[in-house]
């Protein structure tokens, strides 16, 4: 018995070390740094600055965009995941859905610079159907579209897994008992896969708050998300204190999202 305890502790060491060094310490450090102003003096100045209209409206807009991106991703991903589970060779199809997410994120964003650009195919198409060319790049639309494109695989995956775990006899039972396919979906399939939806929303909402490369390359600094602001403060203006303060609020937002999307495993 003692030998067993010892091996258990050996298992724990590298992992615990990892948790302390790379999960707990960084968060503590961020909170610590947020209490220093740009001159390196201890103060709560940064927090006061965060509650000025400039930063507050930026935060609210960031949430609004992230919400839109999550909503659209879900709207597209759920049917896709559902239909995928109905295909033959579904693992292969799933792999093909995930494949683009293995292509470097920056390359996909870069592709959209060409596609949505003034001379790109979208504008040529708009020209042909008579709408005429217009500026698509550097608009809210292009930002949300590209973000949804990037996030869709991350939304599909958990929903697909949840659908796979769903016992098909439950669906058959509902149908036998006379439920229409819509009723079956609304009352049986969707509630039982809700954890997958929550996991998907979690996987999309938080990164959507924080991505700064899409805003920089596609939205051309028109959209400033929390992530863009953090990057700006850390790497451009070198104001680590204010950057950390915004990061603290992003962490709080993350914590809230995690609580809201708690998949309730403990109950089961």
């Amino acid at each position: 018995m003692r030998g067993r305890t010892r091996t258990r502790n050996i298992y724990l060491i590298p992992y615990m070390l990892w948790i302390v060094l790379f999960v707990i310490a960084p968060i503590v450090l961020i909170i610590y740094y947020s209490m220093f102003n740009i001159d390196g003096a201890w103060s709560l100045e940064n927090y006061k600055r965060f509650f000025t209209p400039v930063y507050l409206s930026m935060t609210l807009r960031s949430f609004w965009y992230a919400g839109l991106i999550t909503g659209f991703s879900l709207l597209i991903a759920y049917p896709t995941a559902y239909l995928l589970t109905k295909t033959e060779h579904k693992q292969l199809w799933l792999l093909l859905i995930i494949l683009p997410s293995w292509i470097n994120l920056l390359l996909k964003i870069y592709a959209f610079i060409g596609i949505l650009g003034f001379y790109g195919p979208v504008n040529s198409f708009l020209d042909i159907i008579g709408v005429g060319t217009r500026q698509i790049l550097f608009t809210d639309f292009s930002f949300i579209f590209v973000a949804v494109y990037i996030f869709i695989p991350y939304m599909i995956l958990p929903i697909f897994n949840a659908l796979e775990e769903l016992n098909p006899s439950l669906v058959a039972a509902a149908r036998d008992l006379g439920a229409s396919s819509w009723a079956t979906f609304r009352r049986v399939v969707f509630p039982l896969t809700f954890n997958g939806v929550k996991a998907g929303c979690r996987a999309v909402f938080i990164p959507a708050l924080s991505l700064f490369m899409i805003t920089r390359l596609i939205a051309g600094n028109r959209v400033i998300t929390l992530g863009t602001a953090i990057e700006q403060h850390f790497l451009v203006t070198q104001d680590w204190g204010m950057g950390s303060t915004i990061a603290v609020f992003l962490i709080i937002a993350m914590g809230l999202t995690m609580i809201l999307t708690e998949t309730g495993k403990k109950v089961n």
């Binding site: 067993r4 091996t7 258990r8 298992y11 590298p14 992992y15 615990m16 990892w18 060094l21 790379f22 999960v23 707990i24 960084p26 968060i27 450090l29 961020i30 740094y33 896709t80 239909l83 109905k86 292969l92 093909l96 859905i97 494949l99 683009p100 997410s101 293995w102 292509i103 994120l105 920056l106 390359l107 996909k108 870069y110 592709a111 060409g114 596609i115 650009g117 001379y119 790109g120 494109y149 979690r202 996987a203 938080i206 990164p207 924080s210 991505l211 700064f212 490369m213 390359l217 929390l226 992530g227 953090i230 990057e231 850390f234 950390s244 990061a247 962490i251 999202t257 995690m258 403990k266």
Partner: protein
């Protein structure tokens, strides 16, 4: 099961087309002699020649691969140990605490990870460069490995271990000959996810890389900020082909891995 309706098929097709369109768009124009991502002039391999002649780019590519392979191998080892630790922890509360901390890293946005690691490295005095990037990649890949391995461990019947123990297996034997083979699909999946995370990462690397060290993502970002350059297109075509080969390989290996198991069950 009912066959798919035509509408469903159209829907799936549209999703697939949109998912792949940008990638093929990049590939198509990588052969454009005009040097722009519109107006295809004539076919050329010039951009590929440029990629292969660019030693700087080659070094960056090598950096990226070394970081990806090293970080996913190390993080897989730590992650498997972590998953084992979580399942062996007796108290439910401690287990949940570990899982929550694990998930904190998963849901942490890249910017937070990048910024906080930058602060951490500055604090403990690690020079920015290869080391800091490698450590960061290991750090953010560990939790995904844990999550991939954990379900396999949880579904494993404890009687398997008891049986091995009763038959005289040592703790090491149990781990290497019973547990690890059983959870190998999870380990494999975890390794691949870690590889994906590392290859796909831009934001964390962008924060913790100094001036001298660059990975592909960071390089592409700085190129893309300067505008369109078809060298990126040629490069992305090559990356796509490499990814495709990797994925096909993964699919067949995991398929083959699943076969013996089925056979065992039938016996």
């Amino acid at each position: 099961m009912k066959r798919m309706g035509r509408l469903s098929l159209i829907y799936l097709t549209i999703v697939f087309v949109i998912l792949y369109a940008p990638i093929f768009y990049l590939m198509y124009y990588s052969f454009n002699s005009a040097g722009t991502m519109h107006n295809f002039e004539s076919f050329t391999f010039d951009w590929y020649r440029e990629v292969f002649q660019d030693t700087r780019l080659f070094i960056i590519l090598l950096n990226t691969l070394v970081i990806a392979l090293l970080s996913s191998a190390i993080s897989t080892a730590i992650g498997v140990l972590g998953a084992l630790a979580i399942t062996r922890v007796k108290t439910k509360r401690f287990q949940n605490a570990l899982l929550t901390l694990n998930n904190v890293m998963i849901v942490s946005p890249d910017v937070i990870i990048g910024a906080s690691f930058l602060v951490l490295f500055a604090m403990i005095g690690i020079k920015l460069g290869f080391g800091s990037v490698l450590i960061s990649h290991i750090a953010f890949s560990v939790p995904i490995v844990v999550l991939m391995v954990l379900p396999n461990l949880e579904e494993m019947s404890p009687t398997l271990i008891d049986a091995a123990r009763d038959l005289g297996a040592s703790g090491w034997d149990v781990l290497t000959r019973v547990v690890i083979p059983y959870i190998s699909p999870g380990i494999f999946a975890g390794f691949f996810m870690a590889l994906t995370y590392s290859l796909d990462d831009f934001a964390v690397t962008f924060f913790v890389t100094g001036g001298g060290f660059s990975t592909l993502s960071v390089e592409i970002y700085s190129l893309a900020r300067r505008g369109i350059s078809l060298t990126i297109n040629a490069l992305s075509t090559l990356i796509f082909l490499a990814t495709l080969i990797l994925v096909i390989g993964y699919y067949f290996i995991s398929k083959q891995g699943a076969k013996p198991k089925e056979a065992e069950v039938r016996e």
